[in-house]
Symmetry: C2
Subunit: 192 residues, 2 copies
DNA sequence: TCGGCTTGGTTCACTGATTGAACCACATGG
DNA sequence: CCATGTGGTTCAATCAGTGAACCAAGCCGA
């Protein structure tokens, strides 16, 4: 990004210095969807490995992601922090704009409020509860405009197969267990 | 942006192909603030002229801006279309994230709901009216965290001097008249 | 113990985008 | 007729993104 947007007295410019680079917002979107592993980001986005490394480093150093090597093995998880989770309204708003203006075939993804099951509005409001649910309380599922022929990686396939709660691991090691505790806790802190 | 984000079955990726390039979102923000002229974008943002030309061309061709040469003279106005105005929730959400996480000195800009005067929440809600006002119903003013020493162009100065209704011309030719009709109408269509 | 495989990277040449300064055409205004 | 303002274009230099190849560490079965 070169010199960045220095000497702009504007929080939007500062925010864009953090998340305005190419690919960054798509990496974060995948984090909300439950993607946590380098190889999954790479396969799902088609992002060059060097760029992915750079973006994950930047997001980690800016405090939006936490890099967590697993206790055993060589794998690494990248998890959204509270600061990262707080970008959900932005990600959602931009995606909804794309759905409205750039998607002729109907919505690709639909989001519903987990506690009540109602679909949220384009502004993120749950019409039943009259609240704006935090990301952790949303469930994503395929919409009628989704095109299953475009991508064929395990992330796309997992998202296609069944509705999925945001921020929960898309590939848990023990699928029987409801979910790991750490991330839910972090996400809920944001909600309060 | 190179090849763009093709073969992504995702409205966010499509949206980023339109507004994800460097400077684009800052140009749009200025449009919301009432900036309409090439020279004002250039002076306010410090964006290279060639890049500004390119961004205005792209935004115009994608239908977010309308390029309107004035009846007399050589000046040109760039005005947000309905499609452009509809990006307000995105711009606002990202700016609020920046205010929350990257701005230690307090809010730089504050937004209030014009009809009732109440400040809107970080999610864009007017607590008095219990609605999410459209951009055209918001008034922007300086917050305590604004740093007046950073920029010294006529846009910064106009925004500093007094509260300003979004989407209205920051430099009207006849300051007595309330405002031009075209943009208000377009903005209000979005609100309904 | 020894390859092979997986994972999460790094390196590097190539390409494409951004930058900033200089130049330019047109339309007023004096 | 010249100076000035506006909205650009051009171009060399630099910077960022791309994609293929390479690599180290940890496990895995033989």
């Amino acid at each position: 990004m070169g010199r960045g947007y220095t000497d702009q007295d504007c929080s939007l410019a500062r925010a864009l210095e953090v998340v305005g680079e190419r690919w960054t917002l798509l990496v974060l979107r995948d984090c909300f969807y439950g993607v946590r592993r380098f190889a999954d980001f790479h396969a799902h986005l088609g992002i060059p490995r060097a760029v992915l490394t750079d973006r994950l480093k930047t997001l980690t150093s800016m405090g939006l992601l936490e890099r967590r090597p697993r206790a055993t093995g060589v794998e690494v998880d990248y998890l959204l922090t509270e600061r990262g989770v707080d970008l959900w309204p932005t990600v959602y708003a931009l995606a909804q704009w794309g759905e409205r203006w750039l998607t002729p075939d109907g919505a690709r993804r639909l989001f519903s409020h987990a506690p009540c099951g109602t679909d949220v509005t384009p502004l993120g409001l749950c019409p039943t509860c009259d609240t704006v649910p935090p990301a952790a309380d949303l469930v994503i599922r395929q919409g009628p405009g989704a095109d299953p022929t475009l991508r064929d990686d395990r992330v796309s396939e997992a998202l296609r197969r069944k509705p999925h709660r945001l921020l929960t691991d898309l590939f848990p090691e023990h699928p029987e267990h409801p979910e790991p505790a750490a991330v839910r806790a972090g996400a809920h802190r944001t909600a309060t």
